[in-house]
């Protein structure tokens, strides 16, 4: 998995949670770094913040779903605006979660579903 967020402290927290759950986790702090890491590591899933320094998570999602191999993208954000869910679905992400729900069962089930 690849965790994309510009906040190092948040990346650290997210990676610890996902590692606890048994995933192999890499990190990126921007869209460009995320694209590079995705080519390099071929993650099966990407967890990306909507607000990024060089664009937003929707843009990143569009690029990732166009990859020649399947990548599942889950978008996250500090706020829980309902608009984010719709936009996330439209751009090809498999889901949207507020950041404080990373420990929720729904999130874990989505990750583990297939």
């Amino acid at each position: 998995m690849l965790v994309v967020d510009d906040s190092p402290s948040f990346r650290d927290l997210a990676m610890r949670i996902l590692t606890d759950w048994g995933y192999e986790v890499a990190e990126a702090n921007s869209i460009s770094q995320a694209i590079d890491r995705a080519y390099e590591l071929r993650p099966s899933a990407v967890l990306a913040d909507i607000g990024l320094p060089d664009g937003d998570g929707f843009e990143l999602t569009k690029q990732l779903v166009d990859f020649p191999w399947p990548i599942r993208v889950i978008l996250i954000s500090s706020d829980s605006d309902a608009g984010n869910s719709f936009e996330a679905e439209r751009t090809g992400a498999i889901g949207f979660f507020p950041k404080d729900e990373l420990m929720s069962n729904e999130f874990r089930e989505l990750l583990e579903h297939d």
Partner: protein, 895 residues
């Protein structure tokens, strides 16, 4: 009857309580009606007897008298009875002379009315006897004046126990005063006709004399008929000049002397002697005495001269000459008779002339009055005045001119093609014409060519005798203009001044009325027009429409002159933005050095251009057909914005155009200022809105990026701790981590809140807020705070002005110290921020100060910045504070 007698006995003097016909006083309309009945009789030459009887009848009717008498004081001590009403006593026909009684002599000599309320039967004398015979109880007599002398007497009598009142006396005086000239001429005619009895020689002369025309013909007839009746004597009629030292031959039957010749009159000459003695003078043989003088030159041997007197004045002499024999013994008698006929004819002619002139004058003035009453416009009135005055003076040229400026007359009406209407006449400083005289004296003036050329032959009445008479038209105590009459060929008669003056007075009154009315109407019209524009401005009508409206309304109010509204750019190029009746199209540009319009830009003053000839606008003006114009500045907040112009393609614009145009320009300025303020307000609102949006975004971003992240991480860390605890693992590290996130969130929220509004400010007021603010600054700040608590929006605004200014000082000024002052000045809270830095701050740069200015203006405050380079910066902001917010004792000081 008993009652009335009792009242009279008790001495009641109240006329209102009297009963009977005599107590009824004549009204003005009664008097006018009486006059109107007499006038046509005189005008149509009714026989004198009928006229006298009619006058007596009117006298009786005016006074409710039982009888009326009209007598003429003849030469010597006799009277002549002229008329009586009712015509009962036919035994006393007109012309009957009788001895003057003492009572009548008294009336004649005292020249005052007399009244006899009750005739004293014990009195003696023929007059009393006569009165008693006729049953007269009371009487009233009023002297009739003619040419300044007592000419006769009009008397009314009552044959019952009543008396005349003062009202009757006044009425009779008025009536007889007006009919006196008619009586005089009728009496003269009567006398003449009386003398005419059986004398065929007189018939032609008498007929001519009774006509009121052709005096030359009359004079010729007198000379001819007198010559015939004196057996071929040469008869000459001469008239004296004004001072009696010269005489002019009016008519002559023989070839001795030609008509129109003027010769000097010496005391020794026969003419002089006859005039002086007022008696006929005879010289049977000139060779006996002196042969010098006229007689000698004319080779006259004998002569008889008789005086011709008119109204007791020496008028001339009728003389018969012979070069071979003495004149017949009855020559004196015949010549005297003809002289009398001549004087009667002249008297009659003069009286007729006066009556006709009086009536002509009244009619002319009435016509003018009618125009004023019908509120005709001034042009029509002026034309009528010029025409009527001309007609009244015998079709001379007349000019009515209005004083336009100090020494310029503008012709407003002209009759007789002397000068055209609209012509401007300059009166030179050294001029001595009638106009110049009036400018000096404000009185009527006359210039006779006779005066200018004293050597001119006086007998020549047709040339060199022209004259000009001007009278002032004074309106409201000021010289409005003048009315002039000009006759190129003859000297205007001496009464010309008086007649023109009457007209001038009338005209002045009419103009004053018209001016008062038209200036009031004009004012009302202008006010209405200005109001319409003002309302449109207040409604927020688009500026371009306001400009169009101002051009239109100004044009309409200013007698439909062409108007244009022009806007200057920074360099002074003027562009037409609107116009009405103007040949200058919208969009036309005029360069900054343009005559007039360029001057308005430079001077911000009203400019009048009398003529564009020879100016750099001459070509443009002639292309547009503009001859002259006025341009007034439109200044908005002290700066020239544009100009409102009025132009004329005809006569110069009226003097008051400037003032009236300026009123419209002032409204244009208000409209422009309003529009500009509105634009500024919109911009300011947009800035305020943008600033508010930006502040909201900043708060959102700050919260999102800061406190919210920390809190999410707190939540996640706690959830991980919880999960660890559930698993039985240690949770302490995760809880400590969560605590750390929570602590940072708290700190960030605190900073955020402080950034929005310092707590110290909202809790402790401006002073607490400022003390908190300056504590953390790197530069020492001296705070001089002397103000009470104010409404919170005022305090918050003052706080941000100071905070923004302090931030600027710290960032840019390079200052070592800062002084901050807060105090109350009148009804304003004034804050000052003064530093000792480098100065040179530009208030228009940096959005911080603009934002502050918006904020201040929203509260009605103002901001000023002084920042001379090298001398530090001083910022001053003043915020209005309602006085009642301080309570009755004024501003409350913060303890």
């Amino acid at each position: 009857m008993t009652d009335r007698t009792a009242k009279e006995e008790s001495g009641s003097a109240n006329p209102g309580e009297q009963v009977g016909p005599a107590s009824q006083h004549p009204t003005v309309s009664d008097e006018l009606a009486a006059l109107q009945r007499i006038s046509p009789m005189v005008a149509s030459d009714h026989p004198p007897r009928e006229i006298f009887e009619a006058v007596a009848r009117e006298m009786a009717q005016l006074t409710n008298a039982d009888a009326a008498w009209l007598v003429h004081f003849d030469v010597g001590d006799s009277i002549m009875l002229l008329g009586i009403w009712p015509p009962v006593d036919r035994s006393r026909p007109i012309g009957t002379r009788q001895e003057l009684s003492d009572e009548l002599r008294l009336a004649r000599d005292a020249a005052v009315p007399y009244r006899v309320d009750t005739l004293n039967p014990d009195a003696v004398g023929p007059f009393v006897e006569e009165a008693l015979r006729l049953g007269i109880v009371s009487s009233l007599g009023v002297p009739i004046f003619l040419h300044g002398q007592v000419w006769g007497l009009g008397a009314v009598t009552l044959h019952r126990q009543e008396s005349f009142s003062e009202g009757h006396e006044g009425s009779l005086e008025w009536f007889l005063g007006l009919v006196a000239p008619a009586l005089g001429s009728s009496q003269a005619l009567a006398e003449m006709r009386h003398a005419d009895d059986g004398q065929l020689a007189f018939s032609r002369v008498a007929e001519l004399a009774s006509r009121d025309s052709a005096t030359d013909e009359l004079f010729g007839a007198i000379a001819l008929e007198a010559s015939r009746i004196t057996q071929g004597t040469s008869v000459t009629l001469v008239r004296f000049g004004e001072d009696g030292t010269e005489a002019t031959v009016l008519a002559s039957s023989g070839g001795h002397i030609e008509a129109a010749v003027t010769f000097p009159v010496t005391d020794e000459s026969i003419v002089g002697r006859a005039a002086r003695s007022r008696r006929p003078v005879r010289i049977d043989d000139y060779s006996v005495g002196s042969t010098e003088g006229a007689a000698g030159r004319l080779e006259v041997r004998a002569a008889v001269a008789v005086p011709v007197t008119i109204e007791n004045e020496s008028w001339g002499v009728l003389a018969g000459f012979s070069d071979d024999a003495i004149l017949p013994p009855d020559a004196e008698r015949w010549l005297s008779l003809f002289a009398k006929i001549g004087s009667a004819g002249i008297s009659s002619w003069q009286a007729h002339g006066e009556l006709r002139a009086m009536s002509d004058e009244q009619t002319a003035l009435l016509r003018v009055a009618g125009l004023v009453a019908r509120r005709k416009d001034e042009t029509e009135l002026f034309d009528a005045v010029a025409e009527e005055a001309s007609g009244l003076l015998g079709d001379v040229a007349t000019v009515l001119a209005h004083l336009d400026g100090d020494r310029t007359l503008r012709v407003v009406a002209s009759h007789g093609q002397l000068v055209p209407v609209g012509a401007l006449l300059e009166i030179p400083e050294d001029d001595n014409g009638t106009a110049a005289q009036i400018l000096r004296t404000m009185r009527s003036a006359r210039v006779d060519n006779r005066d200018a050329h004293l050597s001119a032959v006086k007998s020549d009445r047709a040339s060199g005798a022209g004259s000009r008479v001007s009278v002032p038209v004074i309106v409201g105590g000021r010289l409005w203009g003048m009315l002039s009459a000009v006759d190129e060929s003859r000297t205007l008669p001496p009464w010309t001044e008086r007649r023109l003056e009457k007209f001038a007075e009338f005209v002045a009154a009419a103009i004053a009325t018209n001016e008062a009315r038209s200036s009031m109407e004009q004012l009302a019209e202008e006010q209405a027009s200005l109001l319409r524009v003002a309302e449109a401005v207040a409604r927020g009508m688009p500026l371009q429409d306001v400009f169009a409206m101002i051009a239109l309304e100004a044009s309409n109010v200013l007698d439909q002159v062409a108007t244009s509204l022009m806007k200057y750019d920074a360099q002074g190029v003027a562009t037409v933005v609107s116009g009405w009746r103007s040949p200058a199209p919208v969009g036309l540009q005029v360069p900054p050095d343009a005559h007039g319009i360029g001057d308005v830009f430079r001077t911000v003053r009203t400019i009048r251009v009398e003529s564009f000839e020879g100016t750099n606008l001459a070509h443009v003006a002639s292309t547009l057909g503009v001859l002259s114009g006025v341009a007034v500045p439109i200044a908005v907040e002290g700066r020239i914005w544009g100009t409102l112009t009025a132009s004329s393609s005809g006569p110069p614009l009226a003097a008051e155009v400037e003032e009236r145009l300026e009123r419209f320009a002032a409204l244009a300025a208000v409209a422009i200022a309003n529009a500009q303020n509105k634009e500024q307000l919109v911009a300011s609102r947009a800035r305020v809105q943008a600033a508010a949006d930006e502040a909201r975004r900043r708060v959102q971003r700050d919260v999102h990026d800061g406190a919210q992240q920390q809190l999410i991480q707190t939540v996640l860390a706690l959830k991980m701790a919880l999960a660890a605890a559930k698993r039985g693992d240690t949770a302490a590290d995760l809880m400590a981590e969560a605590l750390g996130y929570a602590a940072r969130a708290t700190s960030e929220l605190r900073d955020l809140v402080h950034g929005i509004l310092p707590v110290s400010l909202s809790r402790g007021g401006l002073r607490a807020g400022l003390e908190s603010l300056i504590r953390n600054l790197p530069i020492p700040v001296e705070l001089d705070f002397d103000a009470p608590r104010c409404p919170s929006e005022t305090e918050v605004t003052a706080y941000f002005v100071i905070a923004e200014s302090l931030t600027n000082v710290v960032k840019h000024a390079g200052a070592n110290r800062i002084e901050v002052g807060v105090r109350i000045e009148g009804d304003r809270l004034v804050v000052t921020i003064v530093d000792d830095g480098i100065g040179g701050a530009d208030p228009d740069r940096g959005s911080g100060l603009i934002g502050l200015n918006d904020r201040l203006q929203a509260l009605g405050g103002e901001l000023s910045i002084e920042s001379p380079s090298g001398e530090g910066t001083s910022v001053r902001a003043a915020l209005p504070v309602a006085v009642d917010q301080f309570g009755d004792e004024g501003p409350r000081k913060d303890p």
